[in-house]
């Protein structure tokens, strides 16, 4: 996270850790249903075999030593359409919903989130100087309209409508490790809704590509995959 901070333990209870069978953290992701995980497709580049991955839920520390931690195997991988950087993982068995394990809401199909809306990105990436290097971190960001994002000198015309830009609200101080696959969530009424998946360049330095997959562009696809599988 950029210019972020350690989060309140279990205040983002949909956040999961995508790990290898040897429990090495690969990427972030989110619980969207007791048996389904949303993450970035590029997190799964090393293998297309479901059982090479594990999902850790209900954790705050990267060491996953809390009693609330649940571990599930992955039994199905569903890559997003048209090469989009989005993927669904089906768990071998449903996660048990608890105070530390709660799904995030999905946005309505094709709903556009307004520019300037304040949202949060979360992950276990390093936060230099902000403490809590081994716990889940968060940073707050403001959504930038694609037209404005595309007008920047680095992203000139490369942001597609199924992608989303956001920038740090409290100013940029450094470029820090990104947390692919993790969520960008925004408060709608009294619920957090996932509008983005951390996908590409993220930080203060010139981003190399758009930063978030726009989840609302894929809501129909997500629901369809979950319904038919």
């Amino acid at each position: 996270a950029v210019n972020g901070c350690a989060s309140v333990p279990h205040s983002w209870p949909w956040q999961i850790s995508l790990r290898t069978r040897t429990n090495t953290h690969l990427c972030g992701g989110t619980l969207i249903d007791p048996q389904w995980i949303l993450t970035a497709a590029h997190c799964l580049e090393r293998s297309s075999v479901p059982y090479t991955y594990r999902i850790f839920l209900g954790l705050h520390t990267a060491k996953a030593v809390e009693p609330s931690v649940q571990v599930r195997e992955v039994k199905g991988i569903f890559q997003g359409p048209f090469g989009a950087d989005i993927a669904l993982l089906k768990l071998s068995s449903p996660a048990m919903i608890a105070d530390q394990v709660i799904p995030v809401c999905l946005p309505e199909d094709n709903l556009m989130i307004g520019s300037r809306t304040e949202c949060f990105a979360t992950g276990w990436g390093q936060v230099k100087g902000a403490g809590g290097d081994n716990v889940l971190k968060q940073t707050n960001l403001a959504v930038i309209e694609n037209k404005a994002c595309n007008s920047s000198e680095f992203l000139n015309g490369r942001v597609k409508k199924f992608e989303l830009c956001a920038e740090p609200i409290n100013g940029c101080t450094d470029t820090l490790q990104v947390e692919s696959g993790g969520p960008l969530v925004c408060l709608v009424q009294d619920r957090f809704v996932q509008y983005g998946i951390i996908s590409g360049g993220f930080g203060c330095a010139p981003p190399k590509k758009p930063v978030f997959v726009r989840v609302s562009s894929y809501t129909s696809w997500i629901k369809n995959i979950m319904r038919t599988n």
Binding site: P13, M112, S115, R116, E145, E153, V188
Partner: protein, 555 residues
């Protein structure tokens, strides 16, 4: 056909002090009729009290009139009296300009001591010859005029600006004209539409950017006004707006300290808050950028001074280090003497937010900026959409920063003016601190975004349903909640139930009917009917609601 109220500007929770006449009235329309036929004075506005079925016609309103906040009244002001600009020759001008173009005070129209004339209110009863205001009773080609108080000058014209500004200053961020075609001829898409192009420039998120109709605007600090086009093959394009020949307003002179978001800061601080020297705006090293002085001629991008050319929270600059592209600067607030500002003061300015308030919240200094019904707060230093006197200057100890909720006037709780033109002010979405509770609570200080964004299924009785189903279970189309036709339902309206999401004609459950969402139908034979909306799956019922509330990062 329109309503009699169309010619009035409506503001909830407002009051003005003026000569008045009291009437009984069941509806605002009835009161408007009273105003139209008022014999005792020229009625320019009225106050309507729906609870008491009572109204007051008022003699005075203008852009300069002080408005007070109240709880139960709705102020209706005749729009014509609020315009301080002229259309065409200005025969309809009813503003309060009372000096000629040379600055000489006008003579009262009823006064003939100095210059005698036939232009009296009696002879021209419909020409608005009130006080000594500039008027154009004879349709003069040069616009409104007046007899002067200078014995040597019988009459002179007044300098009244045109209402429609069809040229632009600087980058056209203040352009408010009606050009709605792009430079190559594409028709513009409406800002409140999502077809043919979906976009995030929602008018509600940019209340100060005047995103009306499909007019060319510049909400993102681009080089000049633009719009999304109605062509599916062309997302957006610049509009060809002529530059004004007159210089930009003198406010561009700017401040030497921080006021508001610092867009007018023109001081010489050139170092970021973490102590990095700023890059020169005219340089492209080490960071390539487009905020050059040539691209942004009115933003004061001199040397490497901290500036805010793009509407960020505070002045900032590109830094001279490769690893940090940009950073905010620490600029002393205008309310403080720069020489007295200490590191401690700056630290206090950026202190952690408080998300609950004690007692009446007089010392609340948090960053909550949404009202109890989810409306975004208007910035205290802004006079749009609501003009007011709760400014930093008038209430220097009230910390009226940005659009944060405050209680400058000893009200019962922190409040703010809202960015919704029809709702003047509301209390904020804040809770009272419990005894012993830390000032930083776990509740994030923001509220809802947009109705219709999330729950497409119903939980419980569906009172929180905000989906877009607008047909009943027998297939009838729903009546709009704001409409009283074909079924009159004054008790359940967006005004009476502002938190029930009564948007358009969507099925809702404002009265918490145990059988779920419903709507009035457009069928005159069927007043209302339930809607068929799927129940949420068990896991959806709790989605997105953490048991432990997250907290914003503290700087």
């Amino acid at each position: 056909q329109g309503s009699i109220l169309d010619s009035y500007k409506k503001t909830e929770g407002a009051w003005i002090n003026a000569h008045q006449q009291s009437y009984k009235a069941n509806t605002a329309e009835e009161c408007a009729v009273r105003c139209e036929v008022e014999k005792k004075f020229t009625c320019r506005a009225f106050l309507f009290f729906s609870k008491n079925e009572w109204c007051l016609t008022l003699s005075r309103t203008s852009k300069r009139t002080q408005i007070f906040k109240t709880i139960n009244s709705v102020l209706y002001e005749k729009k014509v009296y609020l315009l301080e600009c002229k259309k065409g020759k200005g025969e309809d001008y009813r503003g309060t300009k009372d000096r000629t173009q040379k600055g000489v005070l006008c003579q009262k129209w009823v006064d003939s001591a100095l210059h005698k004339s036939n232009f009296t209110p009696e002879n021209y009863p419909h020409a608005g010859l009130e006080e000594n205001y500039c008027r154009n009773p004879n349709g003069n080609e040069n616009g409104p005029w007046c007899f002067t108080t200078d014995p040597a000058t019988r009459l002179d014209y007044c300098s009244i600006p045109e209402c429609e500004v069809e040229c632009m200053q600087c980058n056209g961020e203040d352009y408010s004209g009606k050009v709605s075609r792009t430079e190559s001829g594409f028709e513009c898409q409406r800002w409140d539409a999502q077809e043919p192009h979906m976009h995030g420039f929602l008018p509600k998120n940019f209340p100060e950017k005047d995103l009306k109709m499909n007019f060319c605007r510049n909400p993102d600090g681009d080089l000049r006004p633009w719009c999304f086009t109605t062509s599916p093959n062309k997302l957006w394009e610049y509009c060809d707006i002529p530059r004004c020949t007159t210089p930009p307003p003198t406010s561009q002179l700017g401040y030497q300290c921080l006021s508001g978001n610092g867009k007018d800061y023109r001081g010489k601080i050139a170092i970021t808050e973490s102590g990095i020297a700023c890059q020169h705006w005219s340089s492209q090293l080490p960071h390539r950028h487009r905020h050059s002085p040539e691209n942004y001629p009115c933003k004061g991008l001199d040397e490497n001074y901290c500036r805010n050319p793009d509407g960020k929270k505070r002045p900032w600059c590109y830094t001279t280090t490769n690893t940090t592209r940009w950073q905010y600067c620490s600029i002393p607030q205008c309310s403080q003497s720069a020489s007295q500002t200490t590191d401690e003061d700056i630290s206090r300015q950026s202190a952690s937010p408080e998300e609950c308030y004690r007692e009446r919240g007089l010392d609340y200094r948090g960053t909550a900026s949404f009202t109890i019904t989810g409306k975004k707060c208007q910035a205290w230093n802004s006079m749009l959409p609501h003009r007011h006197n709760r400014t930093e200057k008038n209430f220097p100890k009230a910390d009226l920063r940005e659009n944060y909720c405050r209680n400058p006037d000893n009200d019962t709780a922190p409040w703010c003016y809202t960015t919704v033109p029809t709702v003047r002010w509301e209390y904020c979405n804040l809770q009272k601190c419990h005894y012993g509770e830390p000032l930083v609570s776990l509740e994030p200080p923001f509220s809802s975004l947009e109705p219709g964004t999330e729950m497409t299924c119903i939980i419980g009785n569906g009172k929180d349903y905000r989906g877009a189903v607008a047909k009943t279970n027998s297939g009838r189309t729903c009546q709009e909640w704001s409409s009283q036709e074909p079924h009159h339902h004054s008790y359940l309206t967006p005004e009476t139930h502002p938190r029930s999401g009564l948007d358009k004609n969507y099925c809702r459950n404002p009265d918490e009917d145990i059988n779920g969402p419903w709507c009035y139908t457009t069928d005159p034979q069927k007043v209302w009917e339930y809607c068929e909306i799927p129940k949420c799956a068990p896991f959806q019922q709790e989605c997105g609601k953490p048991k432990r509330k997250p907290r914003r990062c503290q700087r």
